[in-house]
Subunit: 191 residues, 4 copies
């Protein structure tokens, strides 16, 4: 099932995609049970774990450059018991993408400063009709993504939402809104 | 799969829960494949359809008081081919709930002015560990829900998020944010 | 001028109304240069200071129950040099309101659990055409305010906005949105 | 006073900056009573009118390329009785800026596709310590503004907020949130 609680993940100090963002991201990827998925800039592995739960007959390739995060991903895979369905690559994308098998969906949570190179690389791997779902927390990244997908309108259709979540905290007799940082979710469908 | 496009539903003039809100609502219901689900104030049936897709071995009971909406629900069930998994009741909840079989999850999209009566009625039907997911578009409804679940803290734990979605529209060379109305999503878990 | 930077205030550990919320709150109060203003639940005094700047020929009465906050208000009055235009009452409203002179506007940033009593008390003091501007950070407070002003529709017209501010932080080559907690601003005009 | 109701403006079919956005925009411009202000892409003139109210001993130059909007601005100036303090230029900025007197603040509500040229032109006119306040409704415009001000960090410091307003509508016994489109407000201070 989709939508694991944030508290269930091992996190350390690595930033984690929050629950509602994960839910919409995974839903936008439209994963079939046998889908092959890349999770690029996998961070804590929270999207990897959620994707793995959706693809019992598929596989997830998690790419992450930071050692601390790679350790967390492996720990979370063990914690959730989905090690068999996931391969972790300790690489800085687009390194490592070339040798992966073709895929049905690509999740991009972190791109360093290589967004265009990464999308170029995964485009060669992504089946027609497959989807890229990109989470952008900086204005520069969403701007670069829009520029890319507009320049590649022959290959991709895209849609974007900005998602803002306020979570009510229960403090004595009161419920008080605590804002989470907004995020842009870009979903590009390969034609 | 979860997250049907808004455009795929037959809608008429009936207000419809928007895609990202449906996705989070269904994810929060944590539906098993054989779950029995009530959808109260089903409107266009968009949540009913999404829920039916999650419960291939379960059943959804859609309760809706307005004739126009009931017709839309039936049309959408046929359109998506899930008639066998759904029963439509043309009733004003809590009417009709008493005779339904026990359930695993309850979606409440519309409650007229009967929210407390509806939750009282479904509480008798809901399995322990089951969830109520309530979408509130008015301040009065979220306030009433908070009052209810605080008064029934022995029976329910609850969490609330306010979800706001801005959808980028592509206008010539520009992407411009178009705001959708925010909504409170209350998820109450029966102890 | 309206819109002092948050950093210019002495703050301690007392929660402070953020800049954009202060700006809209003060604008909604529609203060004339000789206005008499109450600031109830004045906290750090940030709204008091902004109001005092708008009323060079008027006066602001700041009511605050907590000692630590009262000290901060006094320190901020000295810091901004507006002590002459402000009187601080170390009271828990509605205590202390009865003896104040009539007023043109009332700002309510904190109401403890006495909101209805406070509005009852200030209604006796507020000139016709005067405004109450209420900042609500809990769902219970906005719900209570709506209930109050609906029950007193002969005396007040009200309008409400929910304001959400995301502030971009400059991190190296990136601008990243940092969400501030949303707030409801109720503006009630006495008929 | 700042914060005229949206309903008080003559609007036609020209898009108008909404009230809370106007309030924060004008506050960010930090206008002294004798300030000279440019309003570029003045649209309906709503920002021009609000600015004129803040500068009883100053002047506002409103630049607008569309005939229909220029007519609306003139009609609004007459309606609010501030014609003496405002000069309207029916030009497409940066055309017309060169001949204007030096200024203390620049409001940019619309820039067509000439944003960098416009900021280059006004930089020659803006006093040190003066401010540019830019309202961006497209992702491309905010991205271009960030690029510009980062490239001109020797001349400008900038701050950005994204402002989202939900306005409660009173429908029978309910208050229902109606979202307004979010906007980025960039405030750049000339060093």
């Amino acid at each position: 099932m989709l939508g694991i609680s944030d508290e269930e993940f091992l996190r350390g100090d690595v930033p984690m995609t929050k629950r509602e963002v994960r839910i919409v991201t995974i839903a936008n990827a439209q994963l079939a049970e046998d889908a092959v998925v890349y999770d690029i800039g996998a961070g804590t592995g929270s999207l990897t774990i959620e994707a793995a739960a959706q693809v019992p007959h598929g596989h997830v390739y998690a790419i992450e450059r930071k050692d601390e995060a790679v350790k967390l991903i492996r720990a979370n895979l063990a914690h959730f018991g989905v090690e068999e369905r996931v391969t972790v690559l300790a690489k800085e994308a687009p390194d490592g993408i070339e040798k992966l098998p073709p895929c049905d969906a690509v999740l991009i949570g972190g791109s360093g400063s290589h967004l265009a190179d990464i999308i170029d690389a995964v485009t060669k791997k992504l089946h027609d009709g497959g989807r890229i779902v990109l989470n952008c927390i900086t204005l520069q990244t969403i701007a670069e993504a829009l520029t890319y997908f507009r320049a590649h309108a022959k290959t991709y259709d895209y849609e974007v939402v900005q998602l803002q979540v306020n979570r009510l905290r229960q403090l004595g007799p009161y419920d008080m809104a605590k804002a989470e940082n907004p995020i842009y979710i870009v979903t590009a469908k390969k034609k």
